[in-house]
Amino acid sequence: MVPDAEFRSYYDRPIIKPPVWKVPDVPTYLYLGGVAGVSSATAALADATGRPVLRRVGRLAAAFGATVSVGALVHDLGRPTRFLHMLRVFNPTSPLSVGSWILAPFGALAGATAASELTGIAPGLARLAGAGAGALGPALTTYTAVLLADTAVPAWHEAYRELPFVFAGSALASGGGVGMLAGDEAGPARAIAVAGAAVELAATSVLERRIGLAARAYRTGRAGAVLRAARAATVAGAVGAVLSAKPGRHTRLLSVVSAALLNAGSAATRYGVFEAGMASARDPEYTVVPQRERLAARAQGVAVDPSS
């Protein structure tokens, strides 16, 4: 790290503008989008393999997650009445445009599927709609990482290779956790949750080792505290999920507690990543020092990783 003495700024003011995205709107969306995406895929496969309880849990979670997500996104807009402008164009260089075009059909399909699940009307169409939502689900869980990374925010942009896997793991852990509420049919969901927790922990650890100075934003301050709590909850939830696989007197209770821990961990991970970005945007050091190092390396003729 470059000593502070060599780091200069304009009255310590941030160089980039911190995002105006609000808490809890955006972290909630990141978390629920993950739950909904994995739940829809789980529901579709539960449907195909004859697991009606797991199907029902997944379909309802997908519709709930999508509905609240849309609400949070609209609420976060500076001009909420113009939310339909999101579908005015399709702009492939805007992750928010791409995401809107994923979320809109996902929400419609997941909503229709859940409506059929609750009313029993048109189960055949629901199977088709559910398959459609399930196919879109995985994209819904990871495009949000691009949404954050495609900014000048150092802690997000520098992590663009790792964030999609952090979010993928976080989504699997939380979506799998919700599926663990399916009682006797919870087996696949439990496996999803445990695998997701492992992916989330591994990807977060890789992220913090690879992204240079920006990693400090993930380790310190509010973001650091939230992410440490997230890790603890995820580990505890994963251990509980493994233990709940064994038949026993308290299996159901353990499943519920583990599911809650996994979801708390996932939500905290999203919030922690969000806060790390905000902290790195507010402090000009995160912008200036790596750019200075890049310039110095280029001046010395050292090959610089073109994507860092």
Binding site: P19, A41, R79, H85, M86, S97, G187
Partner: protein, 305 residues
Amino acid sequence: MTNRLSGPLPDPSADAGYPADHPERVGFFTDTSICIGCKACEVACKEWNALPSEEAGVPGDLTGMSYDNTGGLGASTWRHVAFVEQTVPARKSPQVDLGMPAATLPGAGPDGSGDATEVRWLMSSDVCKHCTHAACLDVCPTGALIRSEHGTVVVQNDICNGCGYCIPACPYGVIDQRPGDGGAFKCTMCQDRLGAGLMPACATACPTESIQFGPLDELRARAAERVDALHLAGVTDARLYGHDPNDGVGGDGAFFLLLDEPEVYGLPPDPVVTTRDLPSMWRHAGAAAVAVAGVVAAAFLGARR
């Protein structure tokens, strides 16, 4: 695809789809070595564009940042004059020898050496850079941000829904959301004046021609001459910023002559348009999505009934 996202791009307007007879690309060359900090540009910009006062902060509040009580560019501040007071070793100014007895600064040796110091006052009028590869425009989901026929970047206020994506996308921290309104706002390079054949208000008001407006190619040539002249005159600190089409944003439509490192003025030393890495971001997100699908499928395949 690569050149659409980063690297040199001779004609951004043509790239955006304007016909070949579109007007030439125009820009600003802000020569901070002759800025006197009068803030005429700030005032003219506010007046012409009918910008409200910044809602944040109490009117009349002093920042303690030299003469800068504006702070930075924002939704309602499209020109911002930065003031930096630096204490530097006293230098003997290059001057004409009139053969008269001359006074030296207290503490200065006969040749200007010694421990005497003086204040160097840097002033610089900041503005939207109108990047060749503009991240704000790239990430806008509604199409509110557009490339104009003049090669500039403009927000269409009637389209913007206030999603705020452009704000953290900008590597310079230029564009911002206006509280109470919700929309994103920034410099338009006086799009209305350009259409009427006029210069932008700031450049018109600038009394020292620190802010020069014109065809970008001409400005770049003029800036290269100016920095050479300053170097010859002994101002070795002079350097251009944002003029290079090979930089991280493909060159700025508004570039600068600075007398110190960019970060001293609140500018990023090596800005890069974030969408340069977007193809790789989508590849990583795609791989992660496939992994999600794979984990879910494997969980069902591996499950015993």
